[in-house]
Subunit: 330 residues, 6 copies
Amino acid sequence: MSAEPARVEGAPPPIPWEDRPDGEAGPLWRSSRNPIIGRDHLPRSNSIFNSAVVPFRDGYAGVFRVDDTRRTMNVHAGRSPDGVTWEIDEVPISFAPADDRVRDVQQDFIHAYDPRVTWLEDRYYVTWCNGYHGPTIGVGYTHDFESFHQLDNAFLPFNRNGVLFPRRIGDRYAMLSRPSDNGHTPFGDVFYSESPDLTHWGRHRHVLATAPWTWESTKVGAGPTPIETEEGWLLVYHGVLTSCNGFVYSMGAALLDLDEPWRVIARGRDYLLSPQVPYEQVGDVPNVVFPCAALVERETDRLTIYYGGADTVVCLAHGRLSEILDFVRG
Amino acid sequence: MSAEPARVEGAPPPIPWEDRPDGEAGPLWRSSRNPIIGRDHLPRSNSIFNSAVVPFRDGYAGVFRVDDTRRTMNVHAGRSPDGVTWEIDEVPISFAPADDRVRDVQQDFIHAYDPRVTWLEDRYYVTWCNGYHGPTIGVGYTHDFESFHQLDNAFLPFNRNGVLFPRRIGDRYAMLSRPSDNGHTPFGDVFYSESPDLTHWGRHRHVLATAPWTWESTKVGAGPTPIETEEGWLLVYHGVLTSCNGFVYSMGAALLDLDEPWRVIARGRDYLLSPQVPYEQVGDVPNVVFPCAALVERETDRLTIYYGGADTVVCLAHGRLSEILDFVRG
Amino acid sequence: MSAEPARVEGAPPPIPWEDRPDGEAGPLWRSSRNPIIGRDHLPRSNSIFNSAVVPFRDGYAGVFRVDDTRRTMNVHAGRSPDGVTWEIDEVPISFAPADDRVRDVQQDFIHAYDPRVTWLEDRYYVTWCNGYHGPTIGVGYTHDFESFHQLDNAFLPFNRNGVLFPRRIGDRYAMLSRPSDNGHTPFGDVFYSESPDLTHWGRHRHVLATAPWTWESTKVGAGPTPIETEEGWLLVYHGVLTSCNGFVYSMGAALLDLDEPWRVIARGRDYLLSPQVPYEQVGDVPNVVFPCAALVERETDRLTIYYGGADTVVCLAHGRLSEILDFVRG
Amino acid sequence: MSAEPARVEGAPPPIPWEDRPDGEAGPLWRSSRNPIIGRDHLPRSNSIFNSAVVPFRDGYAGVFRVDDTRRTMNVHAGRSPDGVTWEIDEVPISFAPADDRVRDVQQDFIHAYDPRVTWLEDRYYVTWCNGYHGPTIGVGYTHDFESFHQLDNAFLPFNRNGVLFPRRIGDRYAMLSRPSDNGHTPFGDVFYSESPDLTHWGRHRHVLATAPWTWESTKVGAGPTPIETEEGWLLVYHGVLTSCNGFVYSMGAALLDLDEPWRVIARGRDYLLSPQVPYEQVGDVPNVVFPCAALVERETDRLTIYYGGADTVVCLAHGRLSEILDFVRG
Amino acid sequence: MSAEPARVEGAPPPIPWEDRPDGEAGPLWRSSRNPIIGRDHLPRSNSIFNSAVVPFRDGYAGVFRVDDTRRTMNVHAGRSPDGVTWEIDEVPISFAPADDRVRDVQQDFIHAYDPRVTWLEDRYYVTWCNGYHGPTIGVGYTHDFESFHQLDNAFLPFNRNGVLFPRRIGDRYAMLSRPSDNGHTPFGDVFYSESPDLTHWGRHRHVLATAPWTWESTKVGAGPTPIETEEGWLLVYHGVLTSCNGFVYSMGAALLDLDEPWRVIARGRDYLLSPQVPYEQVGDVPNVVFPCAALVERETDRLTIYYGGADTVVCLAHGRLSEILDFVRG
Amino acid sequence: MSAEPARVEGAPPPIPWEDRPDGEAGPLWRSSRNPIIGRDHLPRSNSIFNSAVVPFRDGYAGVFRVDDTRRTMNVHAGRSPDGVTWEIDEVPISFAPADDRVRDVQQDFIHAYDPRVTWLEDRYYVTWCNGYHGPTIGVGYTHDFESFHQLDNAFLPFNRNGVLFPRRIGDRYAMLSRPSDNGHTPFGDVFYSESPDLTHWGRHRHVLATAPWTWESTKVGAGPTPIETEEGWLLVYHGVLTSCNGFVYSMGAALLDLDEPWRVIARGRDYLLSPQVPYEQVGDVPNVVFPCAALVERETDRLTIYYGGADTVVCLAHGRLSEILDFVRG
């Protein structure tokens, strides 16, 4: 049932973890070490946030959103022995084109942000928000987090928050994404798409709409790679509410059908986490909690989520997988 | 002259109070106990703010805006021995229709927020922003803060910040409100309306306009129940300025004619309080000070204002009634 | 059942009429005499449109929207022997306050437009869009179309298209209106309100919403005084669609419950008339058909509608009452 | 070289044609019979426009955008002996799902508009703007213009103006489209996408951008099926300029590389036709010329374009293919 | 008193003229020859409008706004024996820099529109809306309408409708203009500025504001060169109203103090002319009347105004100078 | 080469300074004494920020933006012995008109903000954002920071951030400014203008554009008086990025040609300082760093910048002139 066994060389260490603090009632709690990566972790970093982490060899690796001090948005590779202490490359990832025709879309390369990483079949796939006449979904892969290869963009603009499923559904690759417009868009639902080859995509299905008068009334977007469980795919995602003074980004969860993931089996009524501490409330973008990755340790029922705080720093939240499933089922 | 004696059963305790701190020059100062109610005061509360408090029996009672962790907005009843320590019901107020026809508007009940409470004749009236095909003014009452009854909505949408006067003016009930639109509206003045029966309203009069180039240049709305004084009705209200980065909500005051309250006798030039401390500057809506209730102790010249901080918490401010009147008269 | 007999002094002449032209399939057809009132009918008129007509003595009388060559919007009285040839006063109507307190709202009088006229009990009531710190519903009356009296505004701003019912419903006066905002608003539904005295209004009920993806997807507003039939109140109204190049105003119809008119019994799926001829497509506001009055001749089953064309001229359309009821019931 | 021979059963008649009128200098001229299809061609049609025509058996067939008198947008089949006189079905096209999974997207079917038709390999493919949680590109086919089959939508929302190429490019099917947002969008470029199976799409390439300070400064979208010539694909398209009073839709042309159609070989500097006669300037959407189909008669060098006028009627324009190629090459 | 004598070589012919038609009551009437210049007057013209005409030698000369069929906006010179029949150069005006430093702003030359021409001291000055990092006021001159010389732009962006006075005021050159923003701006007042050298400008004074609820409620801009009279400078200008469906541009007039032209002596209450005939109501921009030049024949009391219709054609209107002054003084 | 010697009476003390803290890598570092002036420095101040300081006699003087508790914006004079401890006048600066005609623009005086001060020839010039029918550039001067004189406004509205050069360029006075619109404008570039007399301005040249996808993608505006160096004018300026939740104001630098300052020799790629500490991130306008003045000590290579934090307080940053020049040259 676990999607990860193929990549084990040396087993990764236990996932980062802290037990639930006293007095914490919710299904998810913040790490006392937050933010685990500060905004000036690199010499020229303005901020590091909205980043993706996976088990890798005998530790962890990741792809990090780094806005530099020019405020150029890019993605960088990083490695960690424990998932908490990170060495991040100062130089952005350079994607080699997977074939000649990919060069076309690289000529227009402008920026890259909000990456996700998914172990799929035999390698680590990276998806990110890629500039090509507007934001769309970039797709690449790596075997070693050193050399990276780029496929064609998955969709036409305007799209963000593309997240691959960790295995084929039927015989097709599958991705969630959020089509929208080319600005700081006030709308956006989650869709599901399939592909025979990771290059051509179709069979687009609507998955998650916004919910009026709730924490997710303005837009919703997939977060970490969906987590396979016996009951369905657990999708942790962000939802946005428009207050008098801009957006509030919170984190929630839903359960999608295993075989037809565009069918929503259950959806958490409440947010799992909303911006309530200073490193989430104050920063380059106030009031943002934005999940991009999750680590699961099924034998201990532990789930650790990596999320961006205030579009400025990287944070961790912990919870029990079983409790979060209970939360989603209401 | 006082509007409150009829409701005394056991006299309420002294109103919450702290003397003016050293070095504080303004007519209003913050409680050192702020916020007196935190955002997670209830198990499922996301935030508690913009709430109304009145003397009740031998203590205090109130109606509280509670946004839950789904970000559903609702109003809850609460009780306190001293006005500072509060027990708030976990379950929202359920309004029984005052007559059969009120059921019509309850079928469309969606949300409730920003309540005010007014002792009027023989009971406590509650007004709030009520969802009925857009925001409008809900009207209800209670004798005991346990069972609540709902009248028809006072106005057509789109309206917010409906505040009853604590006695009839002439032989009519009277209410202030702020008609506007159905979004996070960038305009809004205060109007006065009359009613023979609290159900049918007319004689609408313009009261307070915004003032260009000041702290109240974008919109204004009534706060606590107007306070009757020999010189006129003291109206504490909120005013909004549009900065480069959204709205700033401050608190100010004006004096309205006793018999024709749509006539403004005097109006404070400056704000009484603006967002300047963290619990007002940082939260779900940054930079908000929003007054909804006031307690007056005429024999000691004390005035205590309940206000919401950053749309997240409940706070107190204290002042001398006579000094605030001086402030308003300039 | 007919609401009009009481006002007969000399019976009015037959209503303006033309038989259905050959080849005309719809339930409503344009008069060959359109526009019956041109834009320069008065020496200083820029346009005359969106006007209301009723049987009066041995002919017809009306209240006309006249925008003068300053583009000031005002209402003028007019008289006609046949409903087609009109003598309109050059001077706008001057409303005498019905009581002293009405003077308050007249001090702020700015503009008046889109009148409706309704015979109710013993006089002709006029409602119109009245400027008082934003658009709201002005209410007045006349016995003779020479002297006019003004009541208080019915509602708080922001409201337009207030239309009285021609008799009490239960023991209450009743009005339809369309609350909205203070600009050229892109939204607006029809609501119902009641009053014991034509001054204080309450019991607000939602009546008609917009219908997505149709001719009435942006906003809807009541047109002529509702027409009482055995099956319900026939409401002719305007609906607005937003095209790539602005609004298109069309005319449609619905049937409201006789006793609880906020309940919609039936609603025509299609428009009755949309802008398709030059005097509706070209003018000060392109693509506008805006009905404000209707004359019914029950014994001949004839219905004649007065509507504005392109916010510039007054036009007529004719139909059979029974056929329009069929149209509404689908 | 010609893409059409396979479908000849009985050769179609000559394409509709009129010689260039005296005094007409441009490469394209209007038919004297315009509009060839009026707005009320069908009993319940509000307007018929933006429609697609192809040779079919011994005459012509087409798919027509018909907005009915509810202003519901739909597509209808039609047949003509000469391309000018049309019999259009009163009932909209009903698309049978090409496979079971297509039913998913049909459950959300809301509206259909702006069709194109392309003969491709062995059948007529129809593409249109299809409602599925926003506008996207519907794809279907027919052999006989009587029964129609629907494939999955080609892309995620938000997209319009999907136009198939009439043969494979390399071994892939190819389509142009214009991703944008979900309103009356003020931006939009033309993109190229490929597919192995007409269901899964990828290899998205940018083709045509808007050109500042010209007739096509706001958005551009493909028109008829691209016309293969020895020099490249001739693309007739629409371009939009934003004036003080809304959009102006004109028609222009470009030449795309035969093998890599995302490479623009040449692009006409001027519009080919802009709204200059009443049936293009006045209607449901003023100032619109919108091409959707073209007929080519290579042996006579004749090109006839079907275009919508003012979103209300169907019109024809004629020109010489060689002259239009000269025009595009500047 | 007349500003024109110096330029007489052969006296110009009488100005274009038609007497007031019967039934025409207003102070200004349209020429029966309108439009005197059609949109396709030149081989590549899309439209010719908003143009300026002056007496020149024994006839007339002018600078014309010509949008070509690419919709590029440019200015062209033209000559006429009678002011009605025009020969317009096919090639746009090429401005030689008046000094080396003017080349800087010509490097960024993008577009030119809405010219005015003024005889001032010893030559004809041309002002126009000139693209330089946004719209601003270009200034040039000619002696012969064949070679043109360009000075520096008068102001920083964003500005339009720059109009020179025909003589110095005091010892300074003087210009009216309308600062605003870089789009189809919804606001704009007329200002007055002075210069010692036509290159450096200062002493900016506010002249004309918009007037709420009138034909000129959105923006106002100077039209022809101000006409000197004994009572003051007669300024014909355009005013804009925002209707439900965009802007309506009308023409009005005001009288400015001779010595301090920023002081408004009188201002016409009504528009002089608003879009009411097809060539003003229908075209590339519906509902536009836009005056740019005037010819005065003092001995006959005749005034002829050149104005653009619907941003498409050139039109004439005639009136008596004395009557228009009466109109302005109300 | 130094522009300051003429004003020395008693040499000013060393400029405020702190050495680079350990661990600080960038070319600019914050003072440990920040904010050096708090929001309530004056009895009625709401905030003090965006202010200008110069050496004066044996200490320092400045002009300060003070928003009072009415949120009226005004400028006040202040004096300091050391540049850190300030005595600010409670009463705003009263500008005497430099000549009679300046009174015209003072009649409309509404507000004043964001001052700059420049020693030029023989006096201290003050420029600021001045209300005159919209924001524009006020110009005044003082010899003693006690009496101030006002010249005419430099430009037409709408303009902000006017900054004088400290000497003539060629024989002309020179100023940078940022024309834009009348709101919280989302666009704005820096322009250069010249004047023979500080009253009439011309020769407007574009200097700095925004840079897409960087910290300065929305608007840019000059900060302190440009600093003359052998390599060019060092311009410290602010740049604005639009995030999901409003603007972020950062500080950067560029080098302008000494003789033709509209030519940009070099421009720093990154920001020098962005809002990253609480007094810059939280306040009346979150996320603002806004430089208005700089002190240079050439013999020690020291540069100290005065900047506003969060539109609320005054702060200092320090750096080495030579390092900042290196930073700009990249």
